[in-house]
């Protein structure tokens, strides 16, 4: 039998909270993280709402106990990864083979943009020490260094499915007995590069996004980080704390349709969800909650919905897009939403899909509008679909 992989710890920082407790509190109160741009320096301030983590780099650096001269992507990642390891509370971690698989899409680009402004005007200006951590791998290296992880580290960059793929890869390293403990997930900070880029694609909602609504206008950009700590069954025998759940299924498939848009029949997302179900040995009716990719763009929600219809019709489980709270955190979204999925099982909650009003005319189902509590949730599916047709589904199961 395929060896099991267990979730032993979680860590998170998003626009709706700087840790697990704060995020859960925001869900309870229905408080979205979007607001007028307050931290990133851009001409889009007051025009486009974003979901920023409500702390300056200096404040983040204080929490992370590190210099504020490093990229915001690293600061966010370090805070969430530290939380996850602390939460897992694994005794004698140093005697176990431990790795980190961290995803991001922007690297230290926030610092590079800052450098670029002075440098372009005068190439003797700008401080090179501000751009030493530009590339994506530097973010993971810095986090691994701070956590003292030496056995294995790598960075995955497959757009918005990046950190879900990091979790798949981490699980495989445990299943193949190459590692005992893996911290997997991702981090991304808001940058001008991505904000301008998504703006040119004309898929940013000028209001707060409305995923899976008939009148949705696009996505809101967000930032944050989310990590899970995965352990082998051998490690669980020595653990005192209760495990959250296991990662029972996963799949990555390619939509093979378009560079950035998803196919009308949702082939990639359908194959990812179906493959994850097959891997877990579950039937569609076993799924108790779907954490949707649900960006709020016309294209995504239509194709994701079509794929869900193909797989689940006529019996749909409760579903929602937590991007209605956190915005779309790009390379971090798979990790952040994996944490939410794990917490849904632990606390028996189904998160609301904020601002949903009108059911999409194509479908006979709708996301949850209100938080549901005291639910029995055995299996949660978490979807992450990225540019390049890269589609990933994860399934977390109660143990």
């Amino acid at each position: 039998m395929d060896p099991e992989v267990f979730i032993a710890g979680v860590g998170i920082i998003t626009a709706i909270g700087n840790d697990v407790a704060e995020c859960l509190c925001s869900f309870e109160k229905g408080l979205a993280g979007m607001a007028d741009i307050a931290y990133i320096d851009t001409k889009h301030r007051h025009n486009i709402p974003v979901a920023e983590v409500k702390l300056s780099n200096n404040e983040l650096a204080k929490i992370a106990c590190i210099s504020s001269a490093i990229s915001r992507t690293t600061l966010l990642g370090l805070i969430a990864a530290k939380q996850a390891l602390k939460d897992a509370d694994i005794a004698n971690l140093s005697s176990l083979r431990t790795g980190i698989i961290s995803a991001n899409t922007v690297g230290g680009m926030d610092k590079s943009e800052f450098f670029f402004k002075d440098f372009v005007a005068n190439n003797s200006k700008g401080k090179l020490r501000n751009v030493f951590d530009h590339e994506c791998g530097c973010v993971t290296e810095a986090i691994a260094d701070q956590l003292g992880i030496k056995d294995f580290m790598t960075t995955i960059s497959t757009a918005c499915s990046s950190s879900a793929n990091a979790i798949i890869y981490g699980a495989r390293l445990i299943k193949n007995d190459l590692l005992d403990v893996v911290i997997a997930g991702g981090t991304d900070a808001l940058t001008k590069f991505t904000l301008n880029g998504f703006n040119t694609l004309m898929i940013l909602d000028k209001e707060y996004c409305k995923p899976f609504d008939e009148n949705r206008q696009g996505l809101n950009m967000g930032e944050g980080a989310g990590y899970v700590v995965m352990v082998s069954s051998k490690v669980t025998k020595k653990m005192k704390k209760a495990l959250y759940c296991n990662l029972s299924g996963y799949n990555n498939s390619n939509d093979a349709f378009h560079q950035t848009a998803s196919s009308p029949d949702g082939t990639g997302s359908y194959l990812a969800m179906k493959g994850a179900l097959e891997k877990s040995g579950l039937k569609p009716m076993d799924i108790d909650y779907i954490n949707l990719h649900g960006t709020g763009t016309s294209n995504n929600d239509n194709t994701e919905g079509t794929a869900i219809k193909r797989l689940f019709d006529p019996d749909y489980p409760p579903m929602s897009s937590t991007k209605s709270f956190t915005g779309h955190t790009l390379g971090a979204s798979g990790g952040i939403e994996a944490v939410f999925s794990v917490l849904a099982i632990r606390h028996g909650i189904i998160y609301p899909n904020l601002r949903f009003e009108t059911q999409m005319h194509e479908f006979s189902f709708a996301p949850e509008k209100k938080i549901l509590k005291d639910q029995t949730i055995n299996h949660v599916m978490s979807n992450s679909f990225g540019f390049g047709g890269n589609c990933t589904s994860l399934i977390f199961s109660r143990i």
Partner: protein, 152 residues
């Protein structure tokens, strides 16, 4: 299509043009595991230049390394697992381990893997087609063979 995608596209056309029998496989059983050192830097720079004037969406869509995997998938209707890894150098040991795992666990039945790197006028693409049944002229899928072919 940006230059990195053109390079990957052309290299995959050459790789697959003669002996590959796509119809022997289901679309979801063919995947891609690619790598390079500089991600999509070539287009990242061009896109950043456009930001000074009008940011161009036609450039922005190529500012991710895995768009080239997407382009090859679109061209050939490959729907299996794909990933893009960044390494300072061509890490044949990693590729061998990763692809073998996908094939041994029947996640894939055939895999295209290797290196696609392009910055400015400098480029290098080395792709390998890995299948379970030995075809004529095939060599064993080992890091040593890959390194030898890569260096040649």
């Amino acid at each position: 299509m940006d230059n990195l995608c053109k390079l990957g596209w052309l290299a995959s056309e050459i790789l697959l043009k003669d002996s590959f029998k796509k119809d022997n496989y289901r679309a979801q059983d063919i995947g891609l595991i690619l790598s390079n050192a500089n991600s999509s830097l070539d287009t990242d720079q061009k896109y950043m230049e456009s930001v000074n004037d009008i940011p161009r969406s036609s450039l922005f869509v190529y500012t991710l390394p895995n768009i080239v995997t997407g382009e090859i998938c679109i061209r050939n209707n490959f729907k299996g697992e794909d990933a893009f890894f960044l390494f300072d150098y061509f890490n044949a040991a990693f590729i061998e381990n990763y692809v073998n795992n996908l094939l041994d666990n029947n996640v894939l039945q055939a895999c295209i893997c290797g290196w696609i790197e392009l910055v400015g006028d400098e480029y290098k693409a080395v792709l390998f087609l890995v299948e379970k049944l030995k075809s004529k002229d095939a060599v064993a899928f080992t890091k040593e063979q890959m390194n030898k072919i890569f260096e040649d």
